[in-house]
Each structure stands twice: as C-alpha cells, then as structure tokens.
Amino acid sequence: MPETPAIEVQNLSKSYSTPAGLLPVLRQVNLRVPTGAFTSIIGPSGSGKSTLFNIIAGLEHPDAGTVLLAGQPATGQRGQVAYMPQRDALLPWRTVLDNAVLATTVQRGDVAAARREARALLPTFGLEGFGESLPAALSGGMRQRAALLRTVMWKQPMMLLDEPFGALDAITRAQLQRWLLTLWDELDRTVLLVTHDVDEAILLSDYVAVLTARPARVALTLTMDLPRPRTYQMITTPAFARLKEQLLAALGDEL
C-alpha cells in the first residue's frame, strides 16, 4: 500500500481563450508527487509548466480534472502550498527580512517571532548582514535566495519552485544548485521544481517528470536512483549519463 502522495494531479486539462482561438495548454495531465521527495518537471518552454503550478497553487481553475493535496480534494484552493513564482517577486519597498516573513504577515501570524526565525536563517541563505537591505541592493543570486527564504518561511509541507534559477548565469546557478541540495537535505519538505535544465533536474531530484510540448501530457516519469547525499561530481558518473540520456530521449521526441 503506497503512502498518500503529497500532491496528486488527475486528468488535468486547461485551455486559454486567446484572440487567435482556443489554446489547449494541458491535456489529461497525471502526476504524483510523493511526500518528502524532490520531484522535478522538465519540458519545452511554453509547454504549460507554469500553468500546471498555477492550478496546483489555486491561482487558476482547470477546465477538467482534480488536484489532491495530501489526499484531500483541493482544486482551486489557495494557501496550501508554498509557491515561488518564476521571477523573484520581492516587494522592492520591503527589506529582505520583511519580504521573508510576508506569508506570516498575510496570515496574521506572529510576525516578530517569524522575523527572529528568518534572521537566524540568513547565514544559511547566504544573506548574513542583508536582513535590513532592500532587494535592489542584492545581486541576482541573492535575490533568488531571498525569495527562497520567503518560500521556506511560508511553512507549508509542500513547496512549488518555478524555475528558481532560470534567469541566473551558469556559475551562480551551479552554486545555488549545490546550495539547494544541502538545504533540502535538512528541510524535510516535499518539493516540486520546474526547470529546463536537465542536469539540475537529475542532480536534485528523486523523480523527474517530462512534459510534452503544448498541449502538455506527462511523457515519462523516471526515478533518479542515484545515492544521497548527492554531490556535484556525480554529473560525470555513468549512472548520471544513463539517466540524462533517457530524459533527453523523452524530451527529444518533443523538440
């Protein structure tokens, strides 16, 4: 008897009406995100990955299909998953710490306690000494980590990360991937990550789902049976290469 998945998406379909007519984006998407695991979604750009996230976060309604969160029907319900949009979406007039505790502010929780907790996490997020800085004073990588701190401080058992490193240069991205790897080992949360970087998906994930081009279906779900803790050096191992080959083949059918 398998454990209840943290997120389960059943037969999800979604079209947008555009001036050019109906644009089918998702067609019968099925996905299971196991509790406590790190799952990634890769797919061509414009295939509907952000749309899928928006539906899970309750921001959009699907035309058909259901979303289950921890086994409970949650289609169109908001506030149950921590969500990091594709751009960092930091409020430019709030300091790093005030941005970090945004969810607590919205949920009318104990903001002072949340600030103390976020302050203690600043070194872990490479933001020590920047708690009272405005986002404009941060580099791209630091902004992304501040947005991740905000997502972690949201305190949901499930985190959705939409291409968190997509806009960064390759070196910063590699640094943040390694950093996220260590962070996640200690967080004990379910993560669903969207990325267009196959190496990133393999390195970080327990499972990877490949989406087809629009209208998106899940073409393949693959278990990343690499040992943990993961290290960046694994990129050169034959096991890694085999996984990459399978994922690229599934993607290649779509490109």
Partner: protein
Amino acid sequence: MEYRSQQLDASHVRSNPQHEPEGAHRLSWRHWLGTALPPLLVIAGLLLLWELLVGWLALPDWLLPAPSQIGRTLVERLPILQGHITITLFEALVGLALGFVVGFGLALAIDASGLVRRALYPLLIVSQTIPIVAIAPLLIVGLGFGLLPKIIVVALVTFFPIAVNTVDGLQTADRDTVRLLLAMDASRWQLLRLVRLPAALPSILSGLKVAVTYSVIGAVLAEWIGANQGLGVYIARSLRSFRTDQVFVGALVTSLLTLALFGLVLALERWLTAWKRNTP
C-alpha cells in the same frame, strides 16, 4: 556543514553594502548647483533686461513697473499681504485635503468595482470640461462670500489629478507579486495594502504634484471672482486702482506659495519612495 564555502557571492557584495558612496554629499551639492544655476542665471538676466528697458523707455509705473519697484512694493506691503496670504493658503490647503480625500476615495471605488468605473469615469472627465469661471460665481451666489465656496473650487480642480493618477497607479502593481499574494490567500484589502497601494505611491504623488499647483491658483481665481480677503482680492483691487506694481507682487507671492507647496510634495516624495532611488 558545507554552506560556508558556498556563500561566496554574499561576501563580495558586502564590501560595499551601503549604497551611498563617500563623495555623495559633495556630488549631490554639485548636482544641485548644476541644475539650479542655469535657470537662476536666466531669470537674473531677464530681470536685468526688464529693469534696463523700463528705464530706457521711461515707462510709467501703471503700464510696467521695474523689478526694483516691485521689490520695494513687496517689502512695503508685506504686513497687509500677510493676512491675504494666510486666507489663500488656508483655502488652498483645506481644498487640497478635501480634493485628495474625494479623489482618493473615488479612485478606490472605481478600482473596486467595474460598475462604478463605467458609471463614474466618464462623469469625472465631463466634470473637468466645465469651466471653473462658470462654476465659481454660481457657488458664490449660493454659498456667499466666505471661505467655503473657495474651498469647494479648490477641491473641484484638485480631486481629478489625484483620482486619475491613483486609478492608474493601482494598475501598475507587478503581476507576479499579485499572484504570489493571492497564492498566500491574501484578502482584497491585504493585496491593496501590501502591494497595490505601495506600488501606486509614485503615481499618486505625481497626481499630488499637479493638484498642488492647481490649488493655490484655484483659490486665487475663486477669490478674484468674489471675496473679501485673499490674494485674489488683492490682485483684483490693485488692478482696479491701476497699481500694476501690486498686481505683480500678488502674482509673485502666488507663484512663490505654489513653489513652496510643490517643494513640500517633492520632500514627501523623497521620503515615501526612498526605496525607488535604489531600484535600477
């Protein structure tokens, strides 16, 4: 723990976390000089030319007084002017406050409901096409020579730039940030308070800058049409008695009052949108 080695890019930025470089003080001073000096020189040159022309052509004071004569009249009349200034300033500020409250309230109502928008937005624009010189006498006939009709005239000319700029400003909030707040299950009010109003602030302040320049002129115009006190009355009386130098003094004081209020709004803007200066 392995984080330590991975905090590289924090350390190199930390070497100058404060955004103001050391010479910023001197720099802004020189910058100020660079922007203020050219217009000041132009004004000084024009005044000098004016003074010389009046002397050469031997123009009578009632036709065109020399700047020096206007300066003398200003100093001479200052005690009398003070009462007029106080009245005009009071009307302008109270009218502006009323215009702000009404304009801001209308903007929130228009923003909250598509029905209100469709019903009110066209009326707002029509209200601005009616000449104030037609409305002001009617108000004075109805409400007398006191302060109230002037305050209403000022509110009428100031609410519009506030309302329009607030409505527009509320649309400028970043779409992703709004979605983030919605994903946090934020209420409409929280969305307004945490994201949309702060994002609208620069635009609201632009509206306030326009409104503040209308406010003093609006008050003077309303006084000119019918009042017992105020700079508008002073200008009207001076015109009637051919004291052209006093007319110039009235105009000068009106202009200086407007500039002072404008400066206050600029200071308010600097203070409220300090975060914007560091945003690339």
